[in-house]
């Protein structure tokens, strides 16, 4: 049995999902030889640290009742710098302008030779090369399946399962919020503003939806895919981005009459990295509805591979984080 001491930095929806999944899967993890002990959890204001192992169930209920995970005021970054452990589970919110605290945390972890599993797109979309170089020079693992497509295996599918294939191009839907709004606009023949309001009411869209609807979220994910799967060295600024805010219900009907749906498609190929609304034939595998995500990759040996799944959600994203953790420590 290998004991892995881990911290969860960031205790929003994803961080809490990770705590729940680690509780649920404790026995399973032990059965494959991994004893994962969470020794610290930090949210944006407070923290709990216990070298004997934090009680995850009471941390979850404390967060639910009081809004704070603990009573310590030590920051997540300080935990990484001062508390001995092997794995940082980095689930702070994405900041696409600067990389935010997530970037600071990841670099701090690599300085101490710790492994990082993250759901935070910012650091990788902005400074993929730097982050991976820092991980390599300290011998750390850095896994980030949760940054792209939530529960859908994208990075690990391409890099592990399809190993040996050359990736020719890929396209997909990587933002459930946009997919929901476009699907509902078509169903209800309703304008964008109305279906955005519905999505906000249901908690599918944020109060400030620009990150999703302007295509920024999709663009960040494409950068991660381009760098990690296609071996490019690009940043967010290299992506041409068009969002969905100008789409009209009339355009959706006209497209539908010709046998097409309109979807916000992200694509990566030799010549460009592009996010834009595109016409997708209704019978095409990419024409998935609701909040679903879909990813299709063209490979030289296996041909086209398409997978679809839930692109967001606390437990779904935690599923990707768990698979990364197992990927690092199983062998």
């Amino acid at each position: 049995m290998k004991t892995i001491r881990a911290s969860i930095i960031g205790f929003g929806a994803v961080g809490r999902g990770v705590a729940k999944v680690l509780l649920d899967k404790r026995d399973y993890l032990r059965s494959i030889g991994i004893d994962l002990k969470v020794i610290a959890i930090a949210d944006s204001r407070t923290a709990v640290v216990d070298s004997q192992g934090v009680d995850l169930a009471s941390a979850l209920s404390r967060k639910k009742e009081t809004g704070a995970v603990g009573s310590d005021t030590i920051s997540g970054t300080e935990i990484i710098r001062t508390v001995d452990h092997e794995l940082v589970i980095e689930t702070t919110p994405t900041n696409i302008e600067t990389g935010g605290v997530g970037l600071v945390n990841m670099m701090a972890a690599f300085e101490r030779g710790m492994d990082v599993v993250t759901s935070n797109k910012g650091p990788l979309a902005l400074k993929y090369g730097e982050v991976m170089a820092a991980a390599k020079s300290s011998g750390s693992h850095c896994r980030f399946e949760a940054t792209v497509g939530g529960a859908m295996p994208v990075i690990n599918l391409a890099c592990d399962v399809l190993a040996g294939n050359r990736m020719i191009s890929m396209e997909g839907i990587f933002n459930g919020t946009c997919n929901y709004i476009l699907s509902r606009m078509m169903e209800e023949q309703a304008p964008y503003e109305q279906m955005l309001a519905e999505a906000q009411e249901l908690g599918i869209a944020e109060k400030d939806p620009s990150y999703d609807v302007e295509g920024i979220d999709t663009a960040s994910k494409l950068v991660i895919v381009a760098n990690s799967i296609f071996g490019m060295n690009v940043s967010y600024k290299d992506v041409t981005v068009t969002g969905i805010t100008r789409i009209t219900p009339e355009a959706l009907s006209l497209a539908n009459a010709d046998g097409f749906a309109i979807k916000l498609i992200g694509e990566v190929n030799d010549s460009n990295i592009n996010v834009a609304p595109k016409l997708v034939p209704l019978s095409h595998p990419l024409a998935v509805g609701g909040t679903l995500n879909v990813f299709s990759v063209q490979t030289d040996l296996a041909g086209p591979i398409t997978i679809t799944g839930r692109g967001a959600g606390s437990i779904e994203t935690a599923s990707a984080i768990l698979s990364d953790i197992i990927g690092i420590y199983r062998n």
Binding site: E171, R246, I247, T248, A251, A255, A257, P277, K278, L279
Partner: protein, 166 residues
């Protein structure tokens, strides 16, 4: 559009140049010329097969010029649009001169707007249109869509193009 044409030339010098002149005069783009000197017809004429791209309203002029020069036009096949495409446009499509948008595609000689459906919900609201474009080949279709995108950029229209279907 792309035109494929079978001609018969007299077996005297200068005839091939004479046959190509009208095409060049109307700014046609020659794709291929096959001169079957070895396959003389029973009347002693030489068959020539031409393929060229031309704006559709110039085709009749070319045929009359050829006939005036004594060249027999045996057959004309203008159904050479192999690619059919569709795009959606959103924005102030009519007020940014829809005729100009369509003309620029039609004037390429390799692609044409063959259908247009327009939805105009209310004054001051953006319109939406579906455009069907025919082009002579996949490459020409991409070129036509790139051209449309550059026109749309000037006119602040959003172009929604199809995904590449593999």
């Amino acid at each position: 559009m792309r035109v494929s044409m079978d001609l018969e030339l007299k077996d005297i010098p200068g005839q091939l140049v004479l046959a190509l002149k009208p095409v060049s005069e109307f700014k046609g783009n020659l794709i291929s010329v096959v001169h079957h000197h070895e396959k003389k017809t029973p009347r002693g004429k030489i068959p020539v097969h031409l393929v060229f791209e031309i704006k559709s309203d110039h085709l009749d002029n070319i045929i009359s010029l050829l006939e005036e020069s004594g060249i027999s036009v045996v057959s004309v096949d203008e159904k050479r649009y192999l690619e059919h495409g569709a795009v959606i446009l959103i924005g102030h499509i009519v007020h940014t001169d829809i005729k100009d948008t369509i003309d620029k595609i039609d004037n390429t000689g390799y692609a044409e707007v063959v259908d247009l459906n327009l939805a105009m919900p209310r004054i001051n609201r953006p319109s939406s249109a579906s455009l069907k474009i025919d082009a002579v080949s996949k490459q020409h279709m991409s070129a036509a869509i790139e051209l449309l995108k550059s026109i749309a950029k000037e006119k602040d229209l959003l172009v929604i193009e199809p995904i590449c279907v593999n």
